[in-house]
């Protein structure tokens, strides 16, 4: 069973005056349990639309999807999901602690378990001190952390995060990355959208690139990086101690190395030269 299974998902928004926007044009995507998948795409690509469909906030025009085998049309599908909306807002007349209790109860948690988990996530996200303050007094970074806390609270199997790192300072971004890596270690499935290639490169197993409502590429991160190899930088030390640096294509690499060895020179370093993820991404989205 897939953690997420999206089949032919399409969404057309009806605007004013009969104008329509085809935000999603039939997306097929499966995410394994225990997998971290980066959903990469420029602004307006359809990332949030996909995620809102999954969370039952909007109804897909065509297609279907399941979360851990449960159809997204039912509220039950959301029981094993932690969802962080894009630029989240939470009932700001509650304190972080009260909000987490509210969320926990919505997931059917009670009593000791709920209060223990609350304390854990509040401490993990450094919200323990201000936990009694109303959310309306929080900074943006703190609100984002409340969002992560409510995602982690019930320890679900699937995490759907919509641009979890946008608008955060470097410390915040590092924290999010750490959390995602921790979830990966614990075998959870994380599906997060982003438009920053660096995030994907560091934490994801696979990446799905979306543009104009269509999936362009779905592949493992290392395959993409490998595919982008343009050649190798070879450093060769001559007998007189001078170092020669050459860039050679893959086909010539073998020859260059054996030539050097035959000439009695020593090979200091062979480094693959590859296009960055960013260049790869820019290629796909056509810039």
């Amino acid at each position: 069973m897939y953690a997420l299974e999206i089949r032919g998902l399409g969404k057309t928004f009806r605007g004013k005056k009969l104008r329509t926007v085809e935000a999603l044009k039939g997306i097929d995507l499966c995410v394994e349990q225990g997998e971290v998948l980066g959903f990469l795409g420029p602004n307006g690509a359809g990332k949030s639309t996909t995620i809102k469909c999954l969370m039952g906030l909007i109804r897909p025009t065509v297609g279907s999807a399941t979360i851990l085998g449960r159809d997204i049309a039912s509220a039950e599908a959301r029981t094993s999901v932690g969802y962080l909306p894009e630029n989240p807002a939470f009932y700001d007349y509650l304190s972080a602690e009260e909000y987490l209790l509210f969320v926990g109860r919505a997931f059917g948690m009670q009593g000791d378990l709920l209060s223990r988990r609350c304390e854990e996530v509040l401490k993990q996200l450094e919200l323990w001190e201000p936990r009694r303050r109303l959310i309306r007094t929080y900074s943006k970074g703190m609100v984002q952390r409340v969002g992560l806390a409510q995602v982690l609270l019930h320890d679900p199997e699937v995490y759907i995060l919509d641009e979890p790192m946008s608008g955060l300072d470097p410390i915040g971004r590092a924290l999010v990355k750490e959390i995602v890596l921790d979830l990966k270690r614990r075998g959870k499935c994380v599906f997060f959208s982003t438009h920053i290639t660096d995030d994907v490169e560091k934490v994801c197993d696979r990446v799905a690139v979306i543009n104009h409502g269509e999936l362009k590429v779905v592949d493992r991160v290392e395959n993409i990086l490998m595919r982008g190899t343009e050649g190798y930088a070879v450093s060769i030390a001559a007998a007189d101690g001078s170092v020669e640096e050459r860039v050679v294509a893959e086909a010539q690499l073998q020859g260059v190395i054996s030539d050097a060895v035959a000439a009695g020179r020593s090979i200091l370093k062979v480094e693959p030269r590859r296009k960055s993820m960013e260049a790869f991404f820019l290629d796909i989205v056509g810039h």
Binding site: K52, R78, Y91, Y93, F102
Partner: protein, 264 residues
């Protein structure tokens, strides 16, 4: 559902609505002295003033709380974080409604106690010819509360349809105004006196509106409370049944509409 209900209540209290009501309730202190202006019926006038003040406060609450509660969640994007929880939309709507209804009940209880105190003071200062019948006063309060709870359901239905707070608030006010006179207008157009003046088309339109618009005139027991006139028990039962069925329809329709609502 209970969860949403508690959050709704908490939100109302945190927004200092209750403190606002308490500030308005200070007016009850002046009722005995204001009522003494009346030469003939001090107690009656204090009952009138108390009931009118309570009705007025409940009207404001039902229009503004009922009309803005869904709208605010959507406007401030709370709906993304709340409706993505494993909650059914029906629980959300019902929870909201029950939270608001509970708050109305709480308000009318507190204000009812305050008005009882005010009335007790005026009736001891100026004993009335007809003693106050506290049971009728209680009935009048209960039915006034039911009336405004029904209005909350109207406001909720309108806010599931609309994307702004404009329609819910003004729609609810209009419903309130129309519901007060629908009975009279209906009877008038169906009286022979109006036969020539009213076209059959208009007559039909009024009839349709009469059955569509909530008939809130039946919930008004002020007269019974003020003059100690016994209300008709059968009529009271019918009115209560009317409240239940009409509210059920409003809530059912609200859920149906809200189920289809997209959180874009």
């Amino acid at each position: 559902m209970l969860n949403i209900m508690m959050v709704t209540l908490k939100g109302i209290f945190r927004d200092r609505v209750f403190q606002g009501i308490m500030a308005l309730a200070v007016l009850f202190l002046f009722i005995p002295s204001a009522a003494s202006l009346s030469m003939r019926q001090v107690t009656e006038l204090s009952v009138t003033l108390s009931l009118s003040l309570i009705s007025f406060i409940l009207l404001l609450l039902s229009v503004f709380l009922g009309g803005t509660s869904l709208w605010r969640d959507i406007e401030r994007r709370y709906s993304y974080s709340v409706l993505s929880l494993p909650l059914r939309r029906s629980s959300y709507v019902l929870g909201r409604f029950l939270g608001l209804a509970l708050f109305m009940l709480l308000t009318s209880t507190v204000l009812g106690l305050a008005s009882c105190a005010a009335i007790a003071v005026s009736s001891t200062l100026y004993p009335a010819e007809r003693p106050v019948v506290w049971g009728f006063l209680l009935l009048a309060l209960v039915y006034a509360t039911l009336k405004y709870v029904l209005l909350v359901a109207v406001a909720l239905l309108l806010s599931t349809v609309s994307t702004s707070f404009f329609l819910p608030i003004f729609g609810t006010i209009c419903t309130y105004l129309a519901s007060g006179i629908s009975q009279q207008v209906y009877e008038y157009v169906h009286s022979p006196a109006a036969a020539q003046a009213v076209s059959p088309m208009l007559k039909q339109a009024v009839t349709v509106a009469y059955y569509l618009i909530p008939n809130l005139a039946g919930f008004d027991l002020k007269l019974n409370a003020i003059y100690g006139v016994a209300p008709n028990p059968g009529g009271l039962a019918l009115t209560a049944a009317y409240f239940l069925t009409y509210t059920a329809i409003l809530l059912g329709a609200s859920i149906l509409v809200f189920n289809r609502r997209e959180m874009k």
